[in-house]
């Protein structure tokens, strides 16, 4: 994995090959779990980074739930390599992994991602068929059972923010829901999107402040400060509804409703010059700066058990 090219975009096959490579190189630290199969039958893989123990408190990170946001899957690949490089080297990460497990799902929407490579680079949703409509796909970030169907999503199957016929209708979402419920000990959940350069916490479907808003705001502020310190990339932070727009049925509103206090959503580079077409030359700097923010959130989770 030292010669893998982290500064270019990769296909689904290349990323899945990378997962196996990393597991083969670090069998004591990394394992690959299949948490389900996509609508079109592709395996859904999660990397588990663990230094021992069973069912330890854990941190979940996912990228690529919106398939066209290519810098996020590419950053996820870089994060995976970084964890294997820094365990035993970086005291903060070593302390985190000596007590917590890290789960990293890099291609959270494999059907959509494959479709961006084969047919339509602008594809965002899943590839499920909706009975009675010629339009395809559900927005997997509107399909969660938290404010599902409320304003902030569309009931039109042709819309990019179509929430689906019912909550968890998308197997890509249901697979994570089942994993989180079965694990039962996830303490932080970070879902990574692009673009707009934002770090957000619940809620998205209501103006009501989350009970842990003050703490989440403080953690977000520290994380954004760390991120900006590397290259000066400016991020805003706050609740989803206040920072970007009303969005219902979102991932982190559901994880927060499950008691996972440290629930965050990132919107990575850029602010719109290239949008989803971020040049590959920005992959590594984007991943590097985001990593600094992730470390802050993970360290806070380690130091504030609940």
């Amino acid at each position: 994995s030292d010669t893998f090219n982290y500064a270019t975009y990769h296909t689904l096959e290349e990323i899945y090959g990378f997962l196996d490579l990393l597991v083969a190189e670090h069998p004591q630290l990394v394992s690959k779990l299949q948490i389900g199969s996509s609508y079109e039958g592709r395996p859904i893989y999660v990397l588990k980074f663990s230094t021992g123990g069973s069912n330890r408190p854990a941190i979940w990170i996912d990228t690529g739930i919106h398939s066209r946001e290519w810098v996020t899957q590419a950053s996820g690949v870089w994060f995976a390599k970084k964890i294997t490089q820094d365990y035993g080297q970086d005291p903060t990460l070593t302390a985190i992994l000596d007590s917590l497990d890290i789960f990293l799902e890099i291609v959270t929407n494999p059907d959509g991602f494959a479709f961006t490579h084969s047919k339509n680079r602008m594809w965002r949703k899943t590839r499920s068929l909706t009975e009675g409509s010629s339009c395809v796909g559900v927005d997997p970030n509107r399909n969660w059972d938290a404010g599902f169907g409320l304003p902030g999503a569309s009931s039109n199957p042709c819309s990019e923010t179509y929430h689906g016929k019912f909550a968890n209708s998308e197997v890509e979402v249901k697979s994570i829901v089942d994993f989180v419920k079965n694990h039962g000990n996830i303490k932080a959940f970070i879902s990574i999107h692009s673009y707009s350069q934002l770090l957000m916490y619940p809620y998205g479907y209501t103006e009501e402040a989350a009970p842990d808003r003050d703490e989440l705001d403080q953690v977000a502020k520290s994380a954004v400060t760390a991120l900006t310190s590397l290259y000066g990339t400016k991020f805003e932070y706050g609740s989803i509804i206040k920072t970007i727009y009303q969005a219902s049925g979102t991932t982190v509103d559901w994880t927060y409703s499950q008691g996972i206090k440290y629930s965050f959503t990132f919107e990575l580079r850029d602010t719109g010059r290239y949008g989803f077409l971020l040049p590959a030359s920005q992959i590594v700097p984007t991943a590097q700066e985001t990593w600094l923010a992730l470390r802050i959130i993970m360290e806070h989770t380690l130091n504030h058990p609940y």
């Binding site: 010669t3 090219n5 500064a7 270019t8 975009y9 990769h10 084969s118 047919k119 339509n120 680079r121 602008m122 042709c158 990019e160 923010t161 673009y195 707009s196 970007i244 727009y245 009303q246 602010t271 719109g272 010059r273 290239y274 949008g275 989803f276 077409l277 040049p279 590959a280």
Partner: protein
């Protein structure tokens, strides 16, 4: 494979709530095939929309007719996609050799 030649990404600046609503009207016109990268939310928040070439003129006339400001963020989406593909293939060829 979908081709995006001539598609542009516009950044729309809605100055007030009325203008936000006007842009939302655009969002509902499915025949325009608009792809909102950042949807209309509140005044002052950037609205980014990919506009297919056949809809470009209509959209620009609509925005200008309602005094809604916009700039062109991406002149030709396909040109950027071609660059992205070339970069991927070039590095893949290098890796193979």
């Amino acid at each position: 494979k979908e081709n995006f030649a001539g598609h542009q990404v516009l950044r729309i600046s809605a100055a007030d709530e009325a203008q936000v609503q006007k842009v939302k009207e655009l969002e509902d016109l499915e025949h325009l095939q608009l792809d909102f990268w950042r949807g209309p939310t509140h005044p002052g928040a950037p609205i980014d929309v990919r506009v297919p070439f056949p809809s470009l003129q209509a959209v620009k006339i609509f925005l200008e007719a309602h005094g809604i400001g916009y700039t062109t963020m991406i002149e030709d989406v396909q040109a950027l996609l071609d660059e992205e593909q070339e970069q991927m293939f070039a590095l893949r060829a290098w890796a193979r050799s």
